[in-house]
Every structure is written in structure tokens, then in C-alpha cells.
């Protein structure tokens, strides 16, 4: 297991009456791609900015390689940031932008030249040295911002929703490029985004946040397949969230029926939230063969699959299948025990969580 690089302990930040970050605890390792994921206002950007040194915490500590970072000013921290709107120096050309951090450190010119050119090659901007940054496209400006940060060889790169202003296709290309960069450089990336698909694509670890509190920490698969509460389940991917009761280990009851499931550890008859992903619900033509009976009330073709809404006695289910069942048909629905995810009721957050499964 790789070394701990950054530790956040009980980190808190308040603005007037509002608590943006509420006593969070988090461990970030070397060579890790960590994503802070959540809706706007959840505190992810504020957390990032505190690590970068642009905001001072009201309570708590930030430790970098074991040493307290709280009172160290931004310009002395060994982290670099890629800003949301690039924040390039418009009065300098591409070369000077990238070279800025090296010039500050009084690196000799010959070495600056070598490193800047190498970095421009890595972000695919060879030949752009003398270009005026205003004349570059959004994607190109983004790369200059990345080059400018990485040329300083930081141990940690902070990225604040860097791809938000790019169009979809470019965004997806850049996601892969960023991931490749992180892997080849072997440094830690701390990435902030509200786009859950982006988070699942790129990260080693996803930290889901809401209202200043960490909801869940885990690998993309864990977060997706085993969300621990309603918020995470609702935020990541599509889901059907159902209230039910955990009768006993491996048995849960909802919508008037009892289902086998694979979760345990709840109190007998504890009220729980259940999440079933739309792609995990199987449809059978004969309603009698299904655990739940229902009528198809809506069919939308999404390219990748059909998205259907099936109404049972008690609720509507969102179902995604490649096979279409026409509106009005009566069908049966089945779900495997492993696909029934039981969660504690309410969006109680977890504190420091390490997924060690």
C-alpha cells in the first residue's frame, strides 16, 4: 500500500452563517487519482482550495508528508493547481506562462528551456511557444495551464473542474489524456468535479461529498454498486430508491414482498433504503413469472438502450434494457439478490472510511 501524502483532519471552513466544509477527515496517497465529487456547494472546491493554500481553514489540520501545512502560504507549498478557467497570464506568451514557476525559482535558462519544451511536447503543444495565449482555443489554453502546473514537478496536482468549459467530445478526450498523464508521471492528482461519469471514468478513489460532509469514499465500482446511503445512490448513476424493512440478515421486505439479498449487519426489522439500478431489473413477458408485476407506461429510445417506466401497484420503476417492451404491455420484473443494495436509512454521512474490501 502506497505512502500517505496528504491528511485532512477535522477540516472545517465557514463563511458567515454557512459551513462550507464540516469537519472532514480524509487520507490521500502517493500516485493516486482522487476525485472529490458532489453537487455545487458541497464543499469540494473549498476543500481543494484549502489544500492549495487559497483559503484558510477555520478548524482542523492539513498535513503534507506528516508536516502541518496550515500556516504555510500558497507560494511555499509543493502543490500546483490547474484552475477552472485556466487563469493564464494574458500578457505573456505560452513559453513564458509555462516557464513562470521555474523562473521564480531561478532555475538556469538552459534547464528552463529543456523542461518547458519537454512539457509542451507532453501536452501536445510543440511549436506553440511564442503564441499569444489569447489566440488559443479553450482546449489549448487548458493544456497550457496543465503544462504550467506540471513543469514544476509537484508531488500533488490540484484540478478544479478543469474540463467544465470544454465541449463534450473534447472533454472525453482530455479525460483520457489526463488519466494517462497521471499514470505516466506517477504523481497524485486531486480532481474536483460535479460530473459523476467523469469521476467514475478517471479515478482510483472517489470521495462523494454533500453539504460539506463526506458521504462515501471508495473505488468507482464500490461507489456505484454499493452506495451506502440514499444521497450517494441518487447522485451516482440512475437508480430506483425504495423504502423497505430489513427483516433479518439476507432478507429484506419492500412493496409487500420479501426478497433475498446479500447484505447483513442490520438490526431485525430495521427500516432501510434500498437501491436497484435500472439496468439490473430483468423483464419477463409472462407477468406471473416475475417477482413484481407491472404495466409499461413509457418507452424512450436512448440509443444505448431503451429506458422504460414500469408501474407496479406501489410505484414506478425505471428500467433500462436493450429489448423493448411496448407501452401498455403487462410484464413481470425480476432482480438478482446481489443487485439489491441495502443502505442505512437517511443520508447520514460516514466519517473517515477506508474501503478495504
Amino acid at each position: 500500500m502506497s505512502k500517505t501524502l496528504i491528511e485532512l483532519r477535522n477540516l472545517t471552513k465557514r463563511y458567515n452563517d454557512m459551513t462550507a466544509v464540516d469537519g472532514i477527515n480524509l487520507t490521500i496517497r502517493e500516485n493516486e487519482f482522487v476525485t472529490l465529487l458532489g453537487p455545487s456547494g458541497c464543499g469540494k472546491t473549498t476543500t481543494l482550495r484549502m489544500i492549495g493554500g487559497f483559503e484558510d481553514p477555520d478548524e482542523g489540520e492539513i498535513l503534507f508528508e506528516g508536516k502541518l501545512l496550515n500556516n504555510v502560504p500558497a507560494y511555499k507549498r509543493n502543490v500546483n493547481t490547474v484552475f477552472q478557467r485556466y487563469a493564464l497570464f494574458t500578457h505573456m506568451n505560452v513559453y513564458e506562462n509555462v516557464a513562470f514557476g521555474l523562473r521564480v525559482k531561478k532555475v538556469p535558462n538552459s534547464e528552463i528551456d529543456r523542461r518547458v519544451k519537454k512539457m509542451l511536447k507532453m501536452v501536445d503543444l510543440e511549436g506553440f511557444e511564442k503564441r499569444n495565449v489569447d489566440s488559443l482555443s479553450g482546449g489549448q489554453q487548458q493544456r497550457v495551464a496543465i503544462a504550467r502546473a506540471l513543469v514544476n514537478e509537484p508531488k500533488v496536482l490540484l484540478l478544479d473542474e478543469p474540463l467544465g468549459a470544454l465541449d463534450l467530445k473534447l472533454r472525453k478526450e482530455m479525460q483520457i489524456e489526463l488519466l494517462d498523464m497521471q499514470r505516466s508521471l506517477g504523481i497524485t492528482f486531486i480532481y474536483v468535479t460535479h460530473d459523476q461519469e467523469e469521476a467514475l471514468t478517471m479515478s482510483d478513489t472517489v470521495v462523494v461529498m454533500n453539504k460539506g460532509v463526506i458521504q462515501q469514499v471508495g473505488t468507482p465500482e464500490d461507489i456505484y454498486n454499493e452506495p451506502i446511503n440514499r444521497f450517494v445512490a441518487g447522485f451516482i448513476g440512475e437508480s430506483n430508491i425504495i423504502e423497505g424493512v430489513m427483516l433479518e440478515d439476507y432478507k429484506v421486505s419492500f412493496d409487500g414482498m420479501v426478497f433475498d439479498c446479500v447484505d447483513k449487519g442490520f438490526a431485525p426489522n430495521e427500516p432501510v433504503d434500498i437501491v436497484i439500478r435500472p439496468e439490473d431489473i430483468r423483464i419477463v413477458v409472462d407477468p406471473e413469472e416475475g417477482m413484481i408485476k407491472g404495466r409499461v407506461t413509457s418507452v424512450v429510445f436512448k440509443g444505448v438502450h431503451y429506458e422504460m417506466i414500469i408501474e407496479s401497484d406501489t410505484r414506478e420503476y425505471l428500467v433500462q434494457r436493450t429489448k423493448m417492451f411496448p407501452e401498455g404491455s403487462i410484464v413481470g420484473m425480476n432482480v438478482q439478490p446481489a443487485d439489491i443494495q441495502v443502505m442505512k436509512r437517511g443520508s447520514t454521512p460516514c466519517s473517515e472510511e477506508e474501503e478495504e474490501e
Binding site: 487559497f54 502560504p73 494574458t90 500578457h91 506568451n93 513564458e96 513562470f100
Partner: protein, 282 residues
């Protein structure tokens, strides 16, 4: 709505402009190159006497003085005003507008009254001298004189330096400054390499808005200079109102106009070339 024909509604104004803007300037130009009785057209003949007179030592001295005083006062306004603009720009958004307004309000006060106020303060029996006397310090004899004119210029034009610099500074994206810190630049480096270069357009604007009125004023020098520090403006006023040598006055006016146009051209060159220089840096 955007058809060419509609441009025609501007024609009446174009005629007005020719009558009241172009013709008067041509008259001045005409008079500067002639001599003789201005009321008698037949008497006028071509001559460079107006311009020759300008080259006389006493008059050259006046022109020189104007530039020197205007230059010094512009410099002082820059030195004093830039920090003020920075401090206002760094204030919380809540109070920023209020603070800016407070520093700008003086320019809304009548220009003459503000100059007159200093007359009152700096006169031999004025408040400043009374306070100095009370403190046991020597009397300040700058009024009337060059020193008072300089003070008057700085006082009148300081807000005009603060405003454009503030405007440019406040528009700098705060993330750009954070990026500079992020890359290792402390406050001094960030100021010298990022903030200052980016604020150059504001500085140029400020210099223009101070230097040009300063070099052509006659009120400040008239009221505070008392004849000891005549500037181009005083000279022109004299020629047209007292001495009645309109030819000489016109020559002076043309020269003033030309010098100002050159200064403005230089200013806009500096603004553009600063940016070019940074771009071309390897």
C-alpha cells in the same frame, strides 16, 4: 434598420461639426500662419512670425515649465494614486464601491472652488501657515508660485489617476493572482511580474487624464501661480484677451495641440508595445 440610407440622419450633425469644430480650428491654424489686423481680411499676409515668437527664450521657458510641472505632477499622482487604487481594489466587495465613491466625489466639486480652496489655505495668512507658526515651524512661502501650482495640479487631478488604475486592477481575475502564488510567486514577485504589467493600460489612461489637462491649464497657474509661474495656458489667454496678438496666440495653440497629439500617440504606442514585448519574450 441597418440599411445604408439611414446614415443620412447624421448629416445635419456633420454640417454642425464642420461649422463649429473644423472651421474654428482652421481659423486658428490660419491665424497662426499670418500676421496683420484680424478684423481686416485684406491686411492679412502669410508670415511665420507667430511661430518665431514662440522660439524666443522667455516663451520657450514657459512651454518648458508647463511640461516640467505637468510631468512632475503626473508622476506624483501616479506614485500616490497607484497604491490607493490597489488598496481599494483589495477591499471587500461590500465596501469597495463606497470607498471608490469617497475618493471620486471631490472631482464632482467645482474645479475652481477646489483650486480656490488651496488659495485660501496656502496664502501667507492662511490656515497652513497659522498651524506652522503655532508649531514653531517656518512659514511656507510657496503661494503664489511654482510649488503652489504643483500642489494644485496634484490635488485637482489625483482622482483621475486613481479611477482608471482601479478599474483595470479590479478586472484582473483573482484566479490569475492565485495562479501566480500557486507557482511559487510571493507577493512582491506577483506584483512586479503579473499585477503591474496587467495594470499598464490603466496607468497609461491615468497619465493621459492627468498630464493633458495639467499641461494646458491656466486656472491653476492663474490663481495659485500669481504670475510667477506662467504656463502655456496663461500665455494663450493673455494673447487672446489682453495683448490681442491673436497670431502669436494661435501659434501657441497649434503648438499645444500638436504636442498633446504627439503625447497621446506616444501613450498609445507604449500601451501596445508593452504587450507586444511580453509576447515576444523567449
Amino acid at each position: 434598420m441597418q440599411r445604408r440610407g439611414r446614415g443620412r440622419i447624421a448629416y445635419p450633425y456633420t454640417v454642425w461639426m464642420v461649422i463649429f469644430i473644423v472651421v474654428p480650428l482652421f481659423l486658428i491654424l490660419f491665424y497662426s500662419f499670418t500676421e496683420g489686423d484680424i478684423h481686416n481680411l485684406k491686411d492679412l499676409r502669410f508670415s511665420l512670425n507667430g511661430y518665431k515668437k514662440v522660439l524666443e527664450p522667455i516663451y520657450l521657458k514657459v512651454i518648458g515649465n508647463s511640461f516640467v510641472l505637468a510631468g512632475i505632477s503626473t508622476f506624483i499622482c501616479l506614485i500616490i494614486g497607484y497604491p490607493v487604487a490597489m488598496m481599494i481594489a483589495n477591499t471587500d466587495a461590500k465596501y469597495r464601491n463606497l470607498l471608490l465613491t469617497l475618493f471620486i466625489v471631490p472631482i464632482w466639486m467645482n474645479f475652481l472652488l477646489r483650486t480656490y480652496a488651496w488659495m485660501s489655505l496656502l496664502s501667507p495668512n492662511g490656515l497652513v501657515n497659522r498651524v506652522l507658526l503655532w508649531l514653531g515651524l517656518p512659514k511656507l512661502e510657496i503661494m503664489p508660485g511654482k510649488g503652489a501650482v504643483l500642489l494644485g495640479m496634484v490635488y485637482n487631478f489625483l482622482p483621475f489617476m486613481i479611477l482608471p488604475i482601479y478599474t483595470v486592477l479590479s478586472k484582473i481575475d483573482k484566479h490569475v493572482i492565485e495562479a501566480a502564488h500557486d507557482l511559487g510567486g510571493n507577493n512582491v514577485i506577483t506584483f512586479m511580474r503579473i499585477i503591474l504589467p496587467l495594470s499598464v493600460p490603466g496607468i497609461v489612461s491615468g497619465i493621459t487624464m492627468v498630464f493633458l489637462p495639467a499641461v494646458s491649464t491656466f486656472v491653476i497657474s492663474g490663481l495659485l501661480g500669481g504670475g510667477k509661474a506662467p504656463l502655456i495656458g496663461d500665455l494663450i489667454e493673455q494673447q487672446f484677451l489682453s495683448s490681442r496678438d491673436w497670431h502669436f496666440g494661435s501659434s501657441l495653440s497649434i503648438i499645444l495641440m500638436v504636442m498633446i497629439l504627439i503625447s497621446m500617440a506616444v501613450m498609445s504606442r507604449i500601451d501596445k508595445s508593452e504587450a507586444e514585448e511580453e509576447r515576444r519574450k523567449i
